[in-house]
Symmetry: C2
Subunit: 203 residues, 2 copies
Amino acid sequence: MEQPARINHPDLAEPLRSRWSPSVFDAAHEIAAADVELLLEAARWAPSAGNRQPWRYLVLPRGSAGHAALVEHLSRGNAGWVPRASLLLVSTIARGADGNDFGDLHVPLHDLGQATAHLTLQAHAMGLHVHQFAGFDHAAVAAALGVPDDALVLAGIAVGRRGDAAEVDPRDAEREQRERVRRPLGEIAFGDRWGEAWTPAEG
Amino acid sequence: MEQPARINHPDLAEPLRSRWSPSVFDAAHEIAAADVELLLEAARWAPSAGNRQPWRYLVLPRGSAGHAALVEHLSRGNAGWVPRASLLLVSTIARGADGNDFGDLHVPLHDLGQATAHLTLQAHAMGLHVHQFAGFDHAAVAAALGVPDDALVLAGIAVGRRGDAAEVDPRDAEREQRERVRRPLGEIAFGDRWGEAWTPAEG
């Protein structure tokens, strides 16, 4: 199958330039503990408001009890491709950890996203790939993994080496082949007024 | 003044390895429109749930009316260092954009964090620095920049070239010199049970 171009923008620096989210992982890949540690270090050094570091990750390599618990509660659409990833993570925030009352969760969730982006880009730099997913029974996974009521489960994170599309369900292989699209820049970047497209001429 | 070490972890890939958030920007630096565009492209290509791309940025280079409007509403602690940055951004999400009803804002805010992390790391790769800030009158800025009620202002983002500490308020120069610390890995990474420290032996 022909591969579509996966360069996000030719002038971006690596690992930003060629990061993407495959759906075909190598079910034979085993991730080294040192690699897992480095991914977590990338997240650990992300910036956060007041340096509160609200991110908490459950670390579930394939073969662990936690990996099996998460796999058991995947949505049907995720049940094929997710278990092939050599490492699953569950991203959460600790709401009231260490006496921090976050008030609304806006900023901690934003900062969790930053930490996961760091982890993702570090993975890409190491020749691994990351694909996040929301489709699982969050309450059941929280219960199975002992996530307390004052924490919030945000997403699943599949990490691994890319696999052979011939080995997987054709729907998962096809999902990878879709053209990667984004909104035009003028829809996400505004000038002096929200809603009015920014253009490089204003730079 | 001696510079503290700013390597986050020696084995991380650049630009993750040496990213940090200075408080001393070069007030003489002017950012090129092409550089602004590339920063926005980095954000644009971030991953998001369902590829909804909820991020929206106000783009306010120094000298623009929007830059002046934001500066007018900075908290006292930010009024010294923020205006020196050659580019200010305001990160927002469009709550109901394009018929998307996000329900709660958890996932869009998480994804905004991812996009801003991408922008930040791209900036670092280009020799620029980024320091986000929350201390401004969000409602006044939203009003001044025409942010609609169905959008949410999350943060300010200062972007620029690093400046000379001798030119700035000593408090801003000192802020930069604080030791950069993070929680130990075992506080943010758990094994099969939330709250139980993950260790590399489990990898």
